[in-house]
Subunit: 342 residues, 2 copies
Amino acid sequence: MNKKTTIYDIAKKLDTTAATVSRALNNNPKISASTRKLVLETAAQMNYKQNKLALALQSGKSGNIGVIVPRIDSNFFASVIRGIEDELQPEGYHVIICQTHENEKREIENINTLLNAQVDGILMSASNVSKENNSIIKRVIEKNVPLIFFDRKKNIDGVSSVTINDFEGGYLATKHLIGEGCTKIAHLTGDQSLEIYENRNNGYKKALQDSGIEYNEDYIIQTKSSVEAGRQAVEKLLKLKNPPNAIFSSSDFAALGAIQELKEQGIRIPEDFCVFGFGNEPFTKFMELSISSVDQSPMEMGKMAAQVFLEQVNSTEKFKIEKKVVLNPELHIRKSSLRHAL
Amino acid sequence: MNKKTTIYDIAKKLDTTAATVSRALNNNPKISASTRKLVLETAAQMNYKQNKLALALQSGKSGNIGVIVPRIDSNFFASVIRGIEDELQPEGYHVIICQTHENEKREIENINTLLNAQVDGILMSASNVSKENNSIIKRVIEKNVPLIFFDRKKNIDGVSSVTINDFEGGYLATKHLIGEGCTKIAHLTGDQSLEIYENRNNGYKKALQDSGIEYNEDYIIQTKSSVEAGRQAVEKLLKLKNPPNAIFSSSDFAALGAIQELKEQGIRIPEDFCVFGFGNEPFTKFMELSISSVDQSPMEMGKMAAQVFLEQVNSTEKFKIEKKVVLNPELHIRKSSLRHAL
DNA sequence: CTGTTAGCGCCTTCAT
DNA sequence: ATGAAGGCGCTAACAG
């Protein structure tokens, strides 16, 4: 097993010193063109490759950035990560992914191991927002490691974030339903400790209010983001003395479940009942009865998060940059909510 | 910005030496219980965290493994990566992801930067199989970096791989179609330089042969894995003087496109025409007309690949281990191909 | 321009 | 059981 060739090896061969070789390799101006050429040639010939680890230790920058997500096998997070990787790879960064599986302990562990691995930055979608792990967040900030939240953020001073305007998404979707003539609109929401669901919920409320529709507590159902949960929510809703005639769901999966259940109950969509989802999962547009949904442009989100990181790390400013990017959601209106022609 | 505390800092504070601290921290037996306790305590108190970079440089192991995929925002690859990360994270490894976007140059670049970053292993799904980058593969092998292919492998001596039995998948799907009474079965295949498509194609052929059905060259259409490509394929097929009455598609997306086109042409599924896909993408089971598909158990594949890597890296054997794991595909039979009750 | 020296933080002989 | 020294591979500071 032939050992790696180092700059010392090539220095020895050229009867010079490692410093000179290093300079030649790094386009340092303080070196003659001739020796540079010589070094470059023999380096190539000896098949020299820089050991990034040594560079990392010496410079304190590993060239790695950590990305923490609840899970990677979801279209949304995978797309965000794609955006991040596409943007950071050309800049010479490697992307390390960590999954929390919505487990706060894992989240803390992940941050710790990333810090110990000397990552140059952390981009994360927080699994939850309990106070507890704010101490770990503090550690990140103290170590001066750029931290950027995406999608699920925590409100912390000095920490940048890239999110979509969930409020606006909820507002527009609900407004659309109202425009289609829906008068009794239910809302499937998620974990209220997460801002994103709270904001979508608030957008929904505001839309009702702006249209003079009374807010009905019974129409708000908290569900998991799953098909089954959507079905169960509809079961509950249809049992009300005054059942709704539309649903704005914070999850595409729940929206799908809702549609399945509605159909089984013989309710026609969109004639009798409209459904609007959130997330624009691929399947929403593939369905025969395609599902209207709010697009979150996840890839854009990833790219933006990466750019914010790059700005931050390349900044020469003494003070910290805090940047809050808010992307606009986009309505994809499809059959499940479309009564009138567009 | 408070600098990190090192073992020297804590050595100084305890009026001892870094070596002792190191020993205490690493459960080295050659140290007294008392000093160990003392070191551990003050380490905790000074909030010491090991710098993995230094360890990596000195040990030659970075604790990172690289995963190379065509793209991450596909359910299949995302699921494989999930499996890998779930398996490797408990072992203390970090997973670096690289996308090639099916670009061979990117693939080579990725391998090179991963090697320079001193990854402890590379798991990859090859974007293609041209001879050209076998030299880079050779470099990986020479450097003794464990290399494991998954899904899209190259046949190289001494290199392990985890794949599914694509031949069997193609065979079973086709057999099923025949069992449903389909007599003229077309096949949508992919890039023939990739073994996976070749194998699925061969399984298809064998199934026909075993059932005494003649192979018809006109029924083989090479398509990209996209909805649009599937539609176009159907257009072509229906123009034949003797059009088929079933399709086995190597791609779920092409299968979906095929179904859309067939429906538009007024052809009833599954009564007049059966369709079978490959990949078991989430949407296949969500459709109202659910699509039959071959499941590749991607998460299992990722877990297996990770395990093979661990075996390899933990092995004390002098000789290289070459392990070829082949997972069994599983048929998910749904409406698009189900005429008889199960 | 080039060589010398030193250090990034850690571990591991080799002495003691 | 502990200390001293050296090295992983590289770059930066300081001399010449």
